[in-house]
């Protein structure tokens, strides 16, 4: 019996261990295509940016790929335009994000009420967010047009200004005009996120609070705000990172001008590489900007990482 059983159970054990092995490998096997592709087209190129940033690399002089250590970074920190761009980036985020959030919050609170055309309003409100950035830039350039733009027309008629204002050509106004455009583009995202948060708050909380005689304002402060705080933080982090990164609307609307008045850091890096073909310095600017942003990214990842667990 035993001799008869021996090889069979060994075979069984072999099959089982093979199955166990394949079970352990399967998750990785299923992941590998996506992971390998992203390694190749995302992480390797990023390493290359870091590598380029340590070199003197101008595209029309490809032979002179010279290692210069941190010279590009030192140059950046002494570059006046770098500091101007950094300042604009901070102002830009500091005004745009709160603007988007407040408008988004009001919109979400309204959309959470019951009225007959609510579904329609909810569908339409998202449109600015779905439009291509180039089209957004195009229509706002048209609105801001100093001769025929509707904004000037409107303000002249209301008597708010005495003569037509060149919104995008005036160095003092251009950044503000772009901030308004981006607030318009991004507030629907906040509205939709916050609305989802609002709908996850149980109705019974409000009923109980009304029975206790809590005013609408107290209900908002003690039930609504705590209920959506998680969503709010996530949305602010996400939007800040995205708004900081995006420069396509500015690039089309003003190209950074007039002068340097609408330069932001990623835009500066892009223009350095695209117009001056200075890939070494452009890369260094991109790397510096990434480091500045990293803090926010880490906070976001930690929050999401906890949720994943």
């Amino acid at each position: 019996m035993q001799t008869h059983n021996g090889p069979e159970s060994a075979d069984d054990a072999g099959r089982q261990s093979r199955r166990r092995l394949s079970k352990r490998i399967l998750p990785y096997a299923m992941l590998s295509p996506a992971v390998l592709v992203t390694l190749t087209i995302v992480f390797l190129p990023m390493l290359q940016t870091a590598w380029m940033s340590l070199h003197e690399y101008v595209l029309f002089r490809p032979k002179e790929f010279k290692f210069i250590g941190f010279d590009n970074f030192v140059a950046a920190l002494q570059d006046e335009v770098f500091w101007i761009s950094l300042k604009h980036t901070i102002i830009w985020i500091g005004v745009t994000i709160p603007g988007q959030m407040l408008l988004g919050l009001v919109t979400a609170l309204l959309l959470n009420q019951e009225f007959r055309w609510r579904a329609l309003a909810r569908a339409l409100i998202i449109i600015p967010w779905a439009l291509p950035s180039v089209v957004i830039a195009l229509m706002w350039v048209w609105i801001y047009d100093s001769n025929y733009g509707v904004l000037n027309d409107f303000m002249l008629r209301l008597g708010l200004v005495e003569q037509a204002v060149p919104w995008l050509a005036d160095p003092d106004l251009a950044l503000g005009a772009i901030i308004l455009t981006l607030t318009w583009q991004g507030f629907p995202f906040f509205a939709v996120m916050i609305l989802a948060g609002l709908q996850s708050i149980p109705k019974s909380y409000y009923e109980a609070a009304s029975l206790d005689g809590a005013s609408a304002w107290r209900q908002f402060w003690h039930i609504t705000l705590p209920g959506i705080s998680g969503v709010l933080v996530t949305a602010v982090l996400l939007r800040t990172i995205w708004v900081a990164n995006s420069f396509d609307v500015i690039f089309v609307m003003t190209g950074g001008g007039p002068g340097y008045s609408t330069y932001t850091l990623p835009l500066y890096a892009f223009i350095k590489a695209r117009t001056n073909l200075d890939f070494g310095y452009g890369s260094a600017l991109a790397v510096l900007f990434t480091f500045l942003l990293m803090g926010l990214v880490l906070i976001y990842l930690r929050r999401t990482g906890k949720a994943v667990q």
């Binding site: 295509p33 992203t38 291509p132 089209v135 048209w142 989802a196 990842l301």
Partner: protein
């Protein structure tokens, strides 16, 4: 706030009127662009944009003289290609994340999230150098690859949230009936995921269609997607706002229509992760 049962007049004043104003702000620029695009060019600067006497003159000019048809085709090829790449790579990955627990899962998941946080400018420079070396500049493939850097991580996360909504017991039942893991994925999970796959695909299509900076940097001459074409219009026909706005309307059309079609499902997928977090 539980303002559910308000008197009609009050509701009009504090809910519907503000909502109407916000909606006017959100849609105003778009509507203004549309009205401009149907105004005759000669009347635009004398009488201003107006819907009275609407004409499609600008649109016919757009396709006849500017050759917008080719640009639409380029955008379509790039966007569809990105959808195929993004979806095919992410389905198995999302299944793996959704169903198994294994070493390094958290790190691997977060690396997909991390990708979308990196500044685009960090990627655009090396991708340009890479495509130049490979001789892929100004091809559809270059743009598909570049757009995939955004599409793959995004669709992995979207698909995870859809697959988590499908009970595991269904896979297990299929496997007791003799299916392999891959069989269970193909026969049971995938068919149930179809709505999610469609929504994810449409979202990838929209973002690739709307993408501008990669298209400008890696394409531009032979391959010129609609976004680049619109931007070129701004430079070439600076004061012909009728033509320009017509270009804007056409360029934005697919994204707007598709988005309105799937917005409900899309939004629930997009917000799910954030709300749970």
């Amino acid at each position: 706030m539980a303002l559910g049962k308000m008197p009609t007049s009050r509701r009009l004043l504090i809910v519907e009127l503000p909502m109407l104003l916000i909606l006017a702000f959100a849609l105003g620029p778009y509507i203004w662009m549309f009205i401009t695009s149907v105004t005759d060019e000669s009347r635009l600067f004398t009488e201003g944009p107006s819907i009275i006497g609407a004409t499609i003159d600008n649109y016919t000019r757009l396709f006849r003289t500017v050759g917008f048809g080719d640009n639409l085709l380029d955008s379509f090829i790039v966007a569809s290609g990105t959808v195929v790449v993004g979806l095919s790579l992410s389905v198995t990955a999302a299944y793996s994340f959704s169903r198994f627990s294994f070493k390094g899962k958290r790190v691997l998941m977060l690396q997909f999230l991390l990708i979308n946080m990196f500044p685009l400018v960090l990627l655009i420079l090396p991708l340009f150098v890479l495509m130049r070396v490979l001789g892929l500049l100004d091809t559809h493939l270059a743009l598909i690859i570049a757009n995939s850097t955004i599409a793959i991580p995004f669709s992995v996360w979207m698909m995870i949230s859809y697959m988590n909504g499908i009970p595991r017991s269904l896979d297990e039942a299929a496997m007791t009936d003799g299916c392999t893991r891959m069989g269970a994925l193909r026969r049971v999970v995938l068919p149930l995921c179809v709505p999610g796959i469609i929504a994810t695909g449409i979202y990838i299509f929209i973002t690739s269609w709307n993408e501008y900076l990669y298209a400008l940097t890696l394409g531009g001459r032979n391959v010129r997607p609609i976004t680049v074409a619109v931007q070129t219009l701004i430079g070439e026909y600076e004061i012909q706002w009728g033509l320009l706005t017509a270009g804007g309307i056409v360029g934005a059309m697919p994204a707007t229509v598709l988005f309105l079609l799937v917005q409900k499902r899309l939004i629930s997928g997009l917000t799910q992760g954030a709300v749970k977090g």
